[in-house]
């Protein structure tokens, strides 16, 4: 039997090639604009790592053909409760455990509701998003110190460094890659996303899969919340609010179809998150103004999706 031709392999690598193009463009534009490219790399990591963490976990949910719109709110609540736990105990490990623990509990609630009421995960996350957003306001109100909850910056500063964040990201990606690629969970998730009826008729328990996916995603959310506190220890009701949309963009930018299924790739998230980071820096260096910058980002986004989906546009074959 033959192997895939290089042309057939291109779609799988298109997003990585895209990232390489963006990195090259970053350096070129940086040189032209006399920008501080070394510092910019650090900024890109800081700006991309939380999205990369949350998006990597979210790949499991999207792979199932589902959708989680409450990612931002869940990250915000986890961060707020983590910060409050730190303020109560002065212990960073407690803060970490609360961030991850709260996220896992929220993920479990989402998936259990979907399982019990036989609803798509998306529907329960819509409800969760509203509930969690309101809960964030309540938490800030309880705190009684204006409209923020703060952790002392000097206490978390030792952890606010690139090696630590990269280490967390690398460890989580390794875990997710392991589960997605080497365990049956990933295969079953991809198959379910591609055809849930066939998956069920092949012996796959999609409810159990939904719960596992939610829990894995929740760990990413908890880690994202923890890194958010470290990076910017003043939290408001808007903390992490844009993450939901950023995750979708990152995943699509990374070459994964939003509908999930067999073409899902665990690395799409991190490739997409960093692609977005590089693109944002390039737009910033060009100082185009936010309107033009957004338009160009949108155009590049459409181009990437167009190329990535190009291979899937049907060609009729003999029958």
């Amino acid at each position: 039997m033959g192997k895939q031709t290089w042309k057939e392999r291109i779609p799988a690598f298109a997003s990585i090639l895209g990232l390489m193009v963006l990195i090259a463009a970053y350096y070129i534009v940086g040189a032209i604009r006399d920008a501080n490219v070394a510092y910019g790399l650090k900024a890109i990591v800081n700006q991309s790592v939380v999205v990369a963490l949350v998006a990597t976990g979210a790949v499991f949910i999207y792979t199932l053909g589902s959708f989680d719109i409450s990612l931002g709110a869940a990250t915000g609540v986890s961060a707020l409760l983590g910060a409050m736990a730190y303020n109560a105990t002065g212990n960073l490990l407690v803060m970490f455990l609360v961030c991850v623990g709260v996220a896992v509990v929220l993920g479990f609630i989402n998936s259990s509701l979907a399982s019990i009421f036989n609803l798509p995960i998306f529907v329960t996350t819509v409800a969760m998003m509203s509930v969690l957003s309101a809960f964030m306001l309540i938490l800030i109100g309880w705190n009684g110190a204006g409209d923020t909850i703060k952790v002392k910056a000097r206490d978390v500063r030792p952890l606010d460094n690139i090696p630590f964040k990269v280490a967390i990201l690398a460890a989580y990606i390794a875990l997710c890659w392991f589960v997605f690629t080497l365990l049956p969970t990933g295969r079953e998730a991809k198959f379910t996303g591609g055809n849930p009826v066939c998956a069920r008729l092949s012996g796959i328990n999609e409810k159990k899969l939904g719960i596992i996916a939610s829990l894995i995603s929740a760990v990413g959310i908890g880690l994202g919340a923890f890194v958010t506190i470290i990076y910017a220890p003043t939290l408001t009701k808007d903390t992490a609010s844009s993450i939901g949309m950023d995750v979708i963009i990152a995943i699509v930018f990374g070459g994964m179809p939003v509908s999930g299924g067999p073409r899902s790739r665990i690395l799409s998230a991190v490739v997409g998150a960093f692609s977005m980071g590089f693109m944002t820096q390039i737009m910033s260096m060009l100082n185009l103004g936010s309107g033009y910058g957004q338009m160009i980002k949108a155009a590049i986004f459409l181009l990437v999706v167009f190329i990535a989906l190009g291979s899937q546009r049907g060609k009729l074959l003999t029958r």
């Binding site: 057939e8 080497l182 295969r187 591609g194 069920r200 008729l201 092949s202 299924g261 067999p262 003999t318």
Partner: protein
């Protein structure tokens, strides 16, 4: 008589694959022309070019003596050639009327510029009545229709334009006997009106019954033509596959045989279209279920796999009860659905993924899925079943019907299923592949597997089964043993 459609020197390639080479064919008014050939012979490619779906690389097509180069399928239909495709041609989320007049809703604009649903549904009603599909409501969402009804909507959509040439591409596989009769009637009406039909089917009996002439394709070339007077099964089959068929088509033996051990037992199954059905399947037995399309046999297949809603009854494998597909697969039950593309395969996934998903427990080593083991596992099924593909990463959507069915078989065989429920296993499959499937089923019987075949093809049931249960209106009417199966008797209990 001058042909209404002429094709000269048509070539078409897809990458390295030569789909058509120097094809010449003439279609005459008032003719029903059958096109037959193995999967991959070029039948659908030829007709899809004629119907405007794609363009040829070389060659000439004339329609009524004038060059024929439709810009699209819609353009072709507007100018006189319509096609009913093999795959699903309706959009599930909109109504029947909206599907019928897709892209033409401007016809029904009222004075305010809004679409008048009433007017559209009235016209849809007329179109459905033309094809005698009066049971289909124009205002119903298409997703609520079953496969056959959706196919009839597609037929109505094409017939409303009164095409001069109608192309029917393996449409009858989705239809019950009643649906097929309806279609045959339409085709005959067109013939009487002096129009032409190009009919593609794998069912030799059907094609011989319906068609005036038969053209055989193989490897993208026209091999020969048969006129009705010269129809000969063996000659037709030989020209299709390029050799004499070796061995038996169905099973060689004529006696029912099975082992003592009962593998699967169903007791008092009752549901929406099942009435108190009980049966047993033994190891090494092929049990057939036959009947008309709506008799409940397809639901029975699902029920035996644990995926149908039942109001009563139990299904057990060696005494162990199960009620969902997960438990069924763990107990060694495999299920090949009639709706292959939507229920048995993940179209976007590769051959590898579709086969491996059934046997992940066999591929794992210390809970990990290792690529090498997976490759070997899948390769074994590809080899055993002679699945034609370029490589195992190929998406199944690009495969022929027969090869797709082999992939489905591979999933369950690889999983080591001891009990196989096969619902219309050779639907949409050419005779060469059919023969190999029958041989495989016979082999599985000899290996001691319990096999249930649900089929609407009587010859298949008679040819393969040790026992045959005939169903009607949700209940078993009669049991026949191999050797005593007679078509006339069976039909009597079916209707």
């Amino acid at each position: 008589m001058e042909p209404v459609l002429s094709v000269r020197g048509m070539d078409k390639t897809f990458g390295a694959t030569i789909a058509l080479r120097q094809v010449d064919i003439d279609v005459y008014p008032g003719e029903i022309r059958g096109l037959i050939g193995e999967n991959g012979s070029g039948k659908s490619t030829l007709t899809s070019i004629i119907a405007g779906i794609q363009k040829a690389d070389a060659g000439e097509v004339t329609f009524h003596g004038k060059p024929w180069q439709p810009a699209s399928m819609i353009d072709a239909l507007e100018h006189g050639i319509g096609m009913i495709v093999q795959e699903t041609g309706t959009i599930p989320g909109i109504t029947v009327a909206e599907n019928l007049f897709l892209g033409e809703t401007s016809r029904f604009h009222n004075k305010l510029g809004l679409v008048s649903r009433k007017a559209m549904e009235q016209e849809a009603r007329k179109a459905l009545d033309v094809i005698h599909a009066d049971h289909i409501r124009p205002d119903i969402v298409t997703a609520m229709l079953d496969l056959q009804e959706r196919k009839l909507v597609e037929v109505a959509k094409v017939m409303v334009k009164k095409p001069e040439i109608l192309v029917v591409d393996e449409t009858t596989t989705a239809l019950s006997q009643k649906g097929r009769e309806l279609l045959y009637q339409l085709m005959n009406n067109l013939k009487k009106e002096g129009r032409a039909v190009i009919f593609i089917s794998h069912d030799l009996d059907e094609i011989k019954q319906v068609c005036d002439t038969l053209t055989v394709l193989r490897d993208g070339k026209i091999i020969t033509h048969f006129s009705k007077e010269n129809y000969d099964d063996d000659a037709i089959k030989a020209s299709m596959i390029g050799r004499e068929m070796q061995g038996d088509y169905y099973r060689a033996d004529n006696e029912p045989t099975w082992q003592e051990k009962v593998l699967l037992k169903a007791e008092h199954l009752t549901g929406s279209d099942l009435k108190d059905i009980s049966l047993e399947i033994r190891a090494g037995e092929i049990l057939g279920i036959g009947g008309l399309s709506e008799c409940g046999m397809h639901t029975l297949g699902k029920a035996l796999f644990g995926s149908a809603m039942l109001t009563g009854g139990t299904v057990t494998v060696e005494g162990k009860h199960y009620s969902d597909p997960q438990m069924a697969t763990r107990l060694g039950v495999g299920y090949v659905s009639k709706e292959r593309d939507t229920e048995s395969l993940c179209q976007q996934a590769s051959i590898r993924d579709n086969i491996a998903i059934g046997g992940l427990q066999h591929i794992q080593k210390k809970k990990l899925i290792l690529k090498k083991r997976e490759t070997a596992y899948v390769q074994k099924q590809v080899d055993v079943l002679s699945i034609k593909c370029r490589h195992m990463e190929q998406p199944v959507s690009a495969m022929s019907g027969g090869n797709k069915q082999k992939v489905v078989f591979g999933k369950w065989l690889g999983a080591g299923s001891r009990i196989l429920i096969l619902d219309c296993p050779t639907r949409g499959v050419d005779i060469g592949v059919k023969q190999s499937m029958y041989q495989l089923i016979a082999k599985m019987k000899n290996e001691g597997k319990a096999i249930l075949i649900i089929s609407e093809e009587m010859t298949e049931l008679i040819g393969m089964c040790d026992r045959l249960l005939v169903m009607k209106d949700g209940a078993v009417q009669k049991e026949f043993l191999r050797g005593n199966m007679n078509e006339a008797d069976i039909i009597r209990y079916m209707i």
